[in-house]
């Protein structure tokens, strides 16, 4: 089968278009992606002393706030990177916490400069 000139031209255009599509893909950077938290999202726990969030790569800075059922902050002291693990954010909580829903909000800057944030909840329930 002889390729007509039109077909050849169109094929060439196809190659160019596909190449452009590949080049246009932005290059990957090392954003820190959330991996896990303690307490976990939607977990029901009978006690909680601190909240930690772990990511898959190093953070430059970060902060965590936790609000209790009344809507007020229940954290104790400053939040920030775990001194033993730059991939983790940590904050201690006050004692004598009320039962109910707690909302964790975290924001951070990854080593590559990318900023992101997230939010989730867990529930403090009565010990059985």
């Amino acid at each position: 089968m002889q390729l007509t000139r039109t077909t050849r031209h169109l094929s060439a255009a196809l190659v160019v278009a596909l190449t452009l599509a590949l080049i246009a893909v932005p290059s990957a950077s090392a954003h820190a992606t959330f991996v896990s938290s303690s307490p976990a999202r939607n977990a029901k726990v009978t006690s909680v002393r601190s909240v930690s969030l772990t990511f898959n790569s190093a953070l430059k800075t970060g902060s965590v706030s936790v609000k209790g059922p009344g809507g007020t902050s229940v954290t104790s002291g400053a939040s920030g990177r775990d001194p033993r693990n730059v991939k983790r954010l940590l904050v201690a909580l006050k004692s004598g916490l009320k039962l109910g829903k707690y909302t964790v909000s975290a924001s951070w800057t990854a080593a590559d400069g990318h900023k992101a944030s997230m939010s989730y909840s867990f529930t403090l329930v009565k010990k059985a």
């Binding site: 094929s11 693990n85 939010s119 989730y120």
Partner: protein, 237 residues
């Protein structure tokens, strides 16, 4: 004529003698560039490793200075890389294994975030040769085997090798959707990238790249359809 040739010979002999007398000049040191960086900046560093001996370099181990957060490494063909963590869980040491011939140099690039405050970074490194020699680049400036040094200075230019927006974004804790306890990792979806923050050069560049990519793919699809149709019509031989 004779005089000139004799002068030339003398000169050549003198130079040759001088070359023998001058002590092992400029055996090239391990270097790290840039030598001057801004604080709190993602930088692309390059570790330059020259082979100064008559047998191959087989391993390079580099200590990441405290406060430096290395997060991405160039893939160097022919070299395998492993890392060891520091006490704070960051990458503390990088080890490259491969083979570097005499009269050659290898270049290992990596991205790292510089410390928050000005100071001096000392890039201690160990260079192992095939004959078992280990050259320790750990000395002070001016010694035979000094560690490469980078100065962190507040007035050094920003490199922003991460390509992210420099502006201080008041990362909005609590703003994200909390309805069902969802995670809003704001960089993982197209709409999130656009709404992440107002003035965001990074997001704009992302959109240009995505737009170009989408347009190219659409064009490619169109051309593909036309090729098939033309082929069918004109192809019966």
């Amino acid at each position: 004529m004779r005089l000139r040739s004799r002068t030339l010979t003398s000169l050549t002999t003198l130079l040759a003698a001088a070359a023998l007398v001058v002590p092992g000049a400029a055996a090239a040191h391990i270097q790290v560039t840039p030598t001057r960086v801004a604080p709190n900046d993602p930088v692309e560093f390059q570790l330059l490793v020259p082979n100064e001996r008559d047998n191959a370099t087989t391993q390079v181990r580099m200590q990441v200075p405290p406060g430096v957060l290395a997060f991405s490494f160039a893939d160097v063909p022919g070299w395998k890389r492993t890392t060891k963590p520091a006490a704070d869980g960051s990458i503390g040491e990088v080890m490259w294994t491969g083979s570097l011939a005499p009269e050659s140099f290898a270049r290992f690039s990596f991205l790292a975030s510089t410390p928050d405050s000005p100071g001096t970074l000392s890039w201690k490194a160990l260079q192992t040769y095939a004959d078992g020699t280990i050259v320790k680049w750990i000395g002070a400036k001016g010694t035979d085997e000094p560690a490469a040094v980078t100065t962190v200075s507040a007035d050094a230019p920003h490199q922003n090798a991460g390509g992210e927006d420099d502006e201080d974004d008041a990362g909005t804790p609590g703003k994200a959707d909390t309805g069902g306890g969802s995670t809003t990792n704001t960089d993982t979806s197209a709409t999130a990238a656009a709404s992440e923050d107002g003035s965001d050069d990074g997001a704009e560049a992302d959109w240009v790249a995505r737009g170009l990519g989408i347009a190219s793919l659409a064009l490619a699809a169109l051309v593909l359809v036309l090729v098939i149709r033309t082929g069918r019509r004109g192809g019966r031989s």
